[in-house]
C-alpha cells in the first residue's frame, strides 16, 4: 500500500494503481475528468489528455516535480507522491485548452444529438469550456454512415478516444473496425464497408463518450431527460442480462448497460437484450435507477431531495429530517 496526496487529501491505495483510480477512491471534485480512459478496457487512456494533472512531488525518495503535466489515467502512483488537480492553475489552464481543442471541430449539434444529457463532452465543456469560440474556420465534416443494422456513426462528433476500437478488439472475437488515415482527418470506420456484425457490438454505443455512435433503434425518438430509467434484468444465455430500461410512459424506448457514476458500464450486455427486447414482458423490473441528482436526466423525477438535518440554535436540538421515503 502506498500513500498519495491528491489536492491535499491523503489516500492509501495499492501499488500500481493509477493516479486517476486513486482520485476516484477519494471521489468528488478531486477526480480528473476522463474522456478516453475506460477501466475495463486494457490499453485505453492517455489519448484525450483531459485528465492531465501536475505531480508536485514524484515520490518520497525523489521529491522533484515531474517536468510536464502527466496523464493521470496511465501514470502509476508512488509512495509519497503529491498530485495537484483542481488546485493547480496550470492544470486547469491545460484542461481548458484541451476542451477547446476537442470542441473546435465538434459540430455542437447538441440540440439534435441523441447523446445530449448523458454526454461526457457536454459535462466537460460545462466545467472547462470557453464561453465563445476562437476558431473561425470551417469545421471538418464526414458523412454519416451506418455500421451494421443497429449503429449509426457520426464521425463529426467523434473525439477519437479509441474506446470503441479497444472494445471491439477485446470484447468481440474479431476486430471489425479501426482508425483510418491520420492526423486531424483520422476517422473511425469499418474495414472496406464491412458492417459490424457480432453479438456484443452494441456496447460501442455505451462506451462512446460523445454522440458519435448512437443506437439506430432509438434515434430521434425522445430525449433522455424525458425518459425514466429503470433497473431491469432477464435471463439471457449470452450476457448477464442486467440492464437499464429507459421508459417513456409504459413503453421501453431503449435498453442500455448499467453505468456507474463515472459513466462506465458495469456489465456489458448483448445485442439481443439491447436492440430486440423492447417489450415490458421481456424484463423483470427491479426499480428506478439511481441517477446523479445533478444530471439533467433526474430533472423531473425520482429522487426526493435529502433534507439536511436542522439545528435549532435556541433550543439546542437537532431535528432529524425524515429520509425514509425516497
Amino acid at each position: 500500500m502506498v500513500k498519495v496526496t491528491i489536492d491535499n487529501i491523503q489516500v492509501e491505495v495499492e501499488e500500481g494503481t493509477t493516479i486517476l483510480q486513486a482520485a476516484r477512491k477519494i471521489g468528488g471534485s478531486v477526480v480528473p475528468p476522463a474522456m478516453c480512459y475506460y477501466s475495463s478496457l486494457a490499453g485505453s487512456g492517455g489519448k484525450c489528455r483531459t485528465c492531465l494533472v501536475k505531480v508536485a512531488h514524484s515520490s518520497a525518495r525523489d521529491p522533484r516535480p515531474m517536468p510536464k503535466l502527466v496523464a493521470s489515467c496511465c501514470t502509476p502512483v508512488q509512495e509519497g507522491m503529491v498530485v495537484l488537480n483542481q488546485t493547480s492553475h496550470e492544470v486547469v489552464e491545460a484542461r481548458k485548452a484541451i476542451v477547446e481543442f476537442l470542441l473546435i471541430n465538434h459540430p455542437l449539434d447538441c440540440p439534435v444529438c441523441d447523446q445530449a444529457g448523458e454526454c461526457d463532452l457536454q459535462d466537460l465543456s460545462f466545467g472547462y469550456g470557453l464561453e465563445e469560440t476562437r476558431y473561425e474556420e470551417d469545421r471538418r465534416e464526414f458523412p454519416e454512415i451506418d455500421i451494421g443494422p443497429f449503429i449509426k456513426l457520426h464521425m463529426n462528433r467523434c473525439i477519437l478516444c479509441y474506446r470503441c476500437v479497444y472494445l471491439c478488439e477485446q470484447l468481440t472475437e474479431k476486430r471489425e473496425h479501426g482508425v483510418l488515415y491520420r492526423g486531424d482527418t483520422s476517422e473511425i470506420s469499418t474495414f472496406i464497408r464491412q458492417s459490424i456484425d457480432n453479438e456484443f457490438s452494441g456496447n460501442v454505443i455505451d462506451v462512446c463518450p460523445v454522440g458519435a455512435l448512437t443506437d439506430r433503434t432509438f434515434r430521434f425518438k425522445s430525449r433522455v431527460w424525458f425518459l425514466k430509467p429503470m433497473d431491469v434484468h432477464r435471463e439471457c444465455p449470452a450476457c448477464s442480462g442486467k440492464a437499464v430500461a429507459w421508459m417513456f410512459g409504459e413503453e421501453i424506448q431503449r435498453i442500455t448497460g448499467r453505468k456507474d457514476r463515472y459513466g462506465e458500464v458495469e456489465e456489458f450486455i448483448c445485442n439481443e437484450c439491447r436492440f430486440e427486447k423492447k417489450s415490458r414482458a421481456d424484463w423483470v423490473f427491479e426499480g428506478p435507477r439511481k441517477i446523479k441528482r445533478q444530471s439533467v436526466i433526474s430533472a423531473n423525477h425520482y429522487e426526493k431531495m435529502k433534507k439536511p438535518s436542522i439545528i435549532n440554535p435556541i433550543e439546542g436540538t437537532i431535528e432529524q429530517s425524515d429520509n425514509s421515503e425516497t
Binding site: G45, G46, K47, C48, R49, L52, K68, L69, A71, C74, A94, A97, I98, E100, F101, L102, I104, N105, R134, Y135, E137, D138, R139, R140, E141, F142, I159, L160, Y162, G178, V179, L180, Y181, R182, G183, D184, T185, S186, E187
Partner: protein
C-alpha cells in the same frame, strides 16, 4: 577540420562493395570487439566515448544501453531508426547510401555489446533505393561470415532484418516505430514503460539512430578516450550536419563538435557563405522541429559568446534566445525568405504528419495551419498572432510524444523572433496578397484538403 571519422573513406570509389571497404580497414572493429573484448567492455568503451544520440534528443548512448533490462529472460532487440524524415535532415540517407557497411559494422558491434541476436533496421519507405543498397551490404556481410551463426568462430550470432516503413514521419518516434514494426498503426505509445523494458514485442529493446550506431565502429577502432578527445565538453566526437537553404554549397558535412556556427556558414571549407552575396537572415540549426534563430542570435549567444555547433552552446539561453542541435538539419535563410510563409510550410508538414492520437496535436496543428494560412494570404487579424502563440503554448508539453513540441516550437519561435513580419502581413494585407499571388486570382478561403485521405474542408 581534422580527419573525418565517420566519412573517412567516402571518396574511395566502390566503397559500397564489401571487398573495397574491407581492404580499407572495414570490419576491423567487429574483429576487435568480438575477438578481443567482452560485451561489457564494448559498452564501457561507448560510455567512455561520451557518444550522444544523433537522432535529435542527444541522450547519452552508453547510458541508454545501460538501461536495457538484462535480467529478463525474453529476447532482446536492437532497432536501428533509419526513418529519417525531418525536413532539412538528410545525413542518414547520405551515410547509408555511400557507406552502408559502416552501419552494418556498427550494428554488429552494438548487438554484441547488448547481447542482441536479432536486429532490425526500420528504414523510411521513401528510401526505396537504399533498401537495395543495404540489403546488398547485409548479404555481402553474411557471405563473408560477419553475420549469421557463430560470427568469426565465436558464440555470437546475429541476423539483421530490413523493414521499410510506409511513409509516416511519426514512425521516427521510437515507440511509434516499434508499433509500426510490429505491424500495427504507427501511434506512439504512452511512456512509461520505456522500450528498454517493454519495447518490440514487449521485449527489452534499444532504439538508436543510424548515425549513432555507425559511430560505434570508429569508437571501437580508435578507442573511447580518443573519440572523447574530439569535440568540446559533453558534446564529443563528430557530427554530420546536413546543410541546405540559401547557401553556396549545400550538402552533408562532417564537423568536429565545437565548430563555430559562423565558420560553418561562411568558411569556404563548408557552406561558403550565403548565395549571391546576400545576407544571413535566420537559421534553423537542427531540423525543422527546433526553434528558428535570427542571424544575430545564431552567430553569437545572448551573452555575446560565439555560438558553437555543440548541444550545449546551441541550447544556451533556453527557448528565449537559444535553439537545439537536434538531428543536424541546418537550414539557412537569407533576407529574401518570408518567415510567415516558411512557418506555414512547416506547420502544413506537421499537420499532415500528426498521427491524430491525442487531441492537442491533432486539432492544434490543423488550427495553426489555418490561422497561418490566413495571415499569409492577407486575411489575418491582429489577434491572430497572439492566438497562434497561445495555441502553440497549449500544444507544447501536453501531448503523448515530442511531436507536439516539435510542431509548436517553430511557430512560437518564429513569432518570438520575427513578430514584425507577422505584423506586416496583418497591417498590409493587399501588398501581401500581391507578393503571395502576383496577378493571379486569389483564393479567399482555406481549401487545403488532406493529402492522404483526400478529405476536404468545405
Amino acid at each position: 577540420m581534422g580527419k573525418p571519422v565517420l566519412l573517412e573513406h567516402i571518396r574511395i570509389p566502390g566503397i559500397r562493395q564489401f571487398g573495397v571497404y574491407r581492404s580499407h580497414g572495414g570490419y576491423r572493429p567487429v574483429e576487435k570487439a568480438l575477438l578481443e573484448m567482452s560485451p561489457t567492455e564494448v559498452g564501457q568503451e561507448v560510455t567512455r566515448s561520451g557518444l550522444r544520440g544523433r537522432g535529435g534528443a542527444g541522450f547519452p548512448t552508453g547510458l541508454k544501453w545501460s538501461f536495457l533490462n538484462r535480467k529478463s529472460d525474453k529476447p532482446r532487440y536492437l532497432v536501428c531508426n533509419a526513418d529519417e524524415s525531418e525536413p532539412g535532415t538528410f545525413k542518414d540517407r547520405y551515410l547509408m547510401e555511400h557507406l552502408p557497411h559502416r552501419l552494418v559494422e556498427g550494428l554488429i558491434v552494438s548487438s554484441y555489446a547488448l547481447g542482441v541476436n536479432t536486429c532490425y533496421i526500420y528504414i523510411r519507405g521513401e528510401f526505396k533505393y537504399l533498401v537495395r543498397i543495404l540489403e546488398h551490404a547485409i548479404r555481402e556481410a553474411k557471405e563473408n561470415g560477419f553475420l549469421g551463426e557463430r560470427i568469426l568462430g565465436t558464440d555470437f550470432s546475429l541476423e539483421i532484418h530490413l523493414h521499410p516503413g510506409a511513409g509516416a514521419y511519426i514512425c521516427g518516434e521510437e515507440t511509434a516505430l516499434l508499433e509500426s514494426l510490429e505491424g500495427k498503426r504507427g501511434n506512439p505509445r504512452i511512456k512509461p514503460p520505456y522500450p528498454a523494458y517493454k519495447g518490440l514485442y514487449d521485449c527489452p529493446t534499444v532504439v538508436n539512430n543510424v548515425e549513432t550506431l555507425a559511430a560505434v565502429g570508429p569508437i571501437i577502432n580508435m578507442g573511447g578516450e580518443a573519440y572523447a578527445g574530439l569535440g568540446k565538453g559533453k558534446s564529443t566526437g563528430t557530427k554530420l550536419i546536413s546543410a541546405c537553404g540559401h547557401i553556396n554549397r549545400p550538402g552533408v558535412y562532417e564537423i568536429e563538435m565545437g565548430l563555430p556556427v559562423e565558420e560553418f556558414i561562411f568558411s569556404d571549407e563548408y557552406c561558403n557563405g550565403i548565395r549571391s552575396g546576400r545576407h544571413l537572415k535566420a537559421v534553423i540549426p537542427g531540423g525543422s522541429s527546433v526553434p528558428v534563430l535570427p542571424a544575430d542570435l545564431i552567430l553569437r549567444t545572448a551573452k555575446n559568446e560565439k555560438r558553437l555547433l555543440t548541444y550545449e552552446s546551441l541550447e544556451e539561453g533556453g527557448f528565449d534566445s537559444g535553439s537545439m542541435l537536434g538531428s543536424g538539419g541546418f537550414i539557412v535563410y537569407d533576407e529574401t525568405a518570408c518567415m510567415v510563409r516558411n512557418t506555414l510550410n512547416l506547420t502544413r508538414f506537421y499537420r499532415h504528419e500528426s498521427c491524430g492520437q491525442c487531441s492537442p496535436c491533432r486539432e492544434g496543428t490543423g488550427w495553426m495551419e489555418k490561422v497561418l494560412w490566413r495571415i499569409e494570404h492577407g486575411e489575418g487579424r491582429w489577434k491572430d498572432i497572439d492566438l497562434l502563440v497561445n495555441i502553440a503554448r497549449h500544444i507544447e508539453g501536453n501531448t503523448i510524444c515530442p511531436f507536439g513540441d516539435a510542431a509548436a516550437w517553430p511557430v512560437a519561435s518564429a513569432i518570438r523572433h520575427f513578430r514584425e513580419e507577422f505584423e506586416y502581413h496583418v497591417e498590409y494585407p493587399d501588398e501581401v496578397r500581391v507578393i503571395t499571388h502576383g496577378n493571379l486570382v486569389r483564393e479567399t478561403r482555406f481549401t487545403g484538403g488532406h493529402p492522404v485521405s483526400g478529405i476536404r474542408f468545405r
